[in-house]
């Protein structure tokens, strides 16, 4: 286990190196002078020169690259051009809504998606299965922001039940926080629900016909116990896989949903920074979010061995 963990962490290094390089190149590949692009058309030549010096753009590319890597490793992403604050502290301020949104969305998708998938598998080929699978395919094909627009229109504008935007931090009350995040998490979670339901159905279908399940039935175990102890337990690994994999989708989804519901999270920061050409913030957001996802994925892999003792590293 320990060696496996070390192996995996070492394997992460080249991935993160590529990620950091891509993020670095992203800005350097801008057609024209990044400083001029950032400042816009009206900027004086002097202002552009000053910004170039500030961003270190006058150094050779390789020196810039080395400095970028060294700073990135130490968690120093530079200062925002717009907020005039360190990028890291801006990011930390915006983490809460994003993490909670992703968490609620994932929770919703898992809590509802797994039973839906099990139900579909148990009714394999019958009416309920077809209905569930058709609905889930429609769910996968609907972008989260269309679901969000629909929810905002029906629930907020027509029924006036929940706010269509704005965020209440968790320290100002869990209830208000939940209320402000219900519609956004639903918009995100419905897609997750559909994904998880389909994956669960497949996993359960596969296990249902396995020999050990037939043995369990044969020895007279009631259906409830066969389902819980023999079918569900063995379907867990693929379900956890999909939950881990869907994390990147979830993080991508928060970008759109935060913009739609006006939540002050990391995703809206990314979109806003791109519109403001605040390059250090863009770089910081992408680098941190990608690293976070890579680490969570590693954690998911470790959960496997706990769920399924047959997997030994």
């Amino acid at each position: 286990m320990r060696t496996y963990l070390i192996q995996r962490l070492v394997a992460l290094i080249p991935v993160l190196l590529v990620v950091a390089t891509v993020v670095f190149l992203l800005v350097r590949l801008t057609p024209g002078d990044p400083a001029a692009v950032i400042l816009g058309d009206q900027a004086s030549a002097e202002a552009v020169r000053e910004l170039r010096t500030r961003l270190g753009l006058d150094d050779p590319l390789i020196v810039q690259y080395g400095r970028w890597l060294a700073n990135a490793v130490r968690g120093d992403m530079g200062r925002s051009l717009f907020f005039d604050q360190p990028v890291t502290s801006i990011l930390l301020e915006r983490v809460e809504p994003t993490v909670l949104l992703a968490l609620y969305g994932l929770l919703l998708g898992t809590v509802l998606g797994v039973p839906c998938g099990v139900l579909a598998a148990l009714n394999h080929g019958r009416f309920l299965d077809r209905v569930l699978m058709t609905v889930s395919l429609a769910g996968i094909s609907t972008p989260s922001f269309v679901i969000g627009l629909l929810l905002a229109y029906v629930v907020s504008a027509q029924l006036n039940l929940l706010p269509a935007g704005g965020y209440v931090p968790i320290r100002r009350g869990l209830l208000g926080n939940l209320q402000s995040l219900i519609l956004p998490s639903l918009s995100l979670g419905l897609v997750q629900l559909a994904l998880i339901a389909r994956m669960t159905r497949t996993a359960v279908l596969e296990v249902m016909t396995a020999d050990h399940v037939r043995v369990a039935y044969a020895k007279g175990l009631p259906f409830r116990l066969v389902l819980l102890r023999h079918i569900l337990r063995n379907s867990l690994v693929p379900i956890v896989t999909i939950i881990g994999l869907s994390l990147a989708v979830l993080m991508g989804g928060t970008v759109v949903i935060e913009t739609l519901f006006d939540l002050p999270g990391v995703g809206r920061l990314a979109v806003g920074s791109i519109l403001r050409r605040d390059y250090p913030v863009i770089q910081g957001v992408i680098l941190y979010v990608t690293c976070a996802i890579a680490l969570v994925n590693l954690a998911v892999d470790l959960v496997y061995s706990w769920l399924d003792p047959r997997i030994r590293y």
Partner: protein, 309 residues
């Protein structure tokens, strides 16, 4: 004159009968898959609408009709008008052009470039090590975040959107071709071809590629649908093809602001987007079942490639 001996005739007849039986079984499986047929019908309609937009649209997508700002659907304006007094129905029809343009280009580029890289990576281990490291890195990004970053840095245009999405989705095409190439590399038929004196290129193109390509074809259908969704997302965020060009995502963004007074602004583009994506997913699922009924990939479950590491 005597014909060929009876036994040869029987054998060739048998082969012919077998082949046609296999062909018709495929055809029957194809026709039985009603979901896929429905999807195919919608996709065809979508491509036709995009191709013949100028003939189908009742008005120009950019023309403002004075005095009918935000008017509800009527006989003259089927989907109503937007806040510039433009005909929403015509804009939805023209919006399909950007959607098809991006979807088709991205799936073509990723299939060709990804296929080429996948072929080489599966065959040459040294190349594989370098390329896969880079692709693993690219796949670590949440797709939409990388796409908005690329399109934010470049000048906003349809080409930028295509480039950004191609970068995001190419690794998934490489992966899908690389695995079967890797498996086929030491297959008996490849060894046989090599013994007969075939060079690497001949083996790759005439022997390995045809035996490895079906999953890639399925994947390009899914990439088509992901690209359409991603294009709509970028336009919705204001980072796609810039206005006034009509795009479904952009129209949804315009509609968001006046949703309470004029909900019809979001119905047209919203329904079009969902319908087309659903249809492409149905076609992809059906295609996978036809080409290899046993295969089971995560894509089949509708997981967008952006979700895979």
């Amino acid at each position: 004159m005597a014909g060929p001996p009876d036994s040869v005739l029987t054998a060739s007849r048998l082969a012919l009968a077998l082949r046609s039986a296999r062909g018709s079984r495929r055809l029957r499986a194809f026709l039985r898959n009603r979901a896929m047929l429905a999807g195919l019908a919608i996709v065809t309609a979508y491509l036709l609408v995009a191709a013949f937009a100028p003939w189908l649209a009742p008005a120009s997508p950019l023309e403002s009709f004075p005095g009918v700002r935000l008017s509800p659907p009527s006989a003259k304006h089927l989907f109503g008008t937007d806040d510039f007094g433009r005909d929403v129905f015509s804009r939805v029809i023209y919006g399909s052009r950007i959607s098809v343009g991006v979807g088709l280009s991205v799936s073509l580029i990723t299939t060709v470039v990804g296929g080429f890289l996948g072929l080489l990576a599966g065959y040459y281990p040294a190349f594989d090590r370098v390329v896969m490291r880079i692709l693993d890195g690219l796949m670590a990004f949440p797709g939409i975040l990388l796409a908005i970053a690329i399109s934010g840095v470049l000048k906003p245009s349809i080409e930028t959107v295509i480039i950004a999405l191609s970068v995001v989705y190419t690794p998934y095409a490489v992966r899908v071709l690389r695995a079967p190439v890797l498996a086929n590399r030491h297959a008996v038929y490849v060894e046989a071809a090599r013994c007969l004196g075939s060079g690497d290129w001949r083996i790759l193109l005439y022997h390995i590629l045809p035996n490895s390509v079906p999953p890639l074809l399925v994947q390009s259908t899914f990439i088509f649908s992901f690209a359409i969704l991603a294009e709509a997302t970028l336009s919705f965020l204001g980072l796609g093809v810039p206005p006034p060009t009509p795009t479904w995502g952009g129209m949804l963004n315009d509609g968001k602001v006046v949703m309470v007074q004029a909900p019809w602004l979001i119905w047209g583009p919203g329904i079009a987007l969902v319908l087309v994506t659903l249809a492409l997913n149905l076609v992809g699922d059906g295609l996978r079942d036809l080409l290899d009924p046993r295969s089971f990939t995560l894509q089949a479950q509708g997981l967008p490639p952006s979700g895979r590491r």
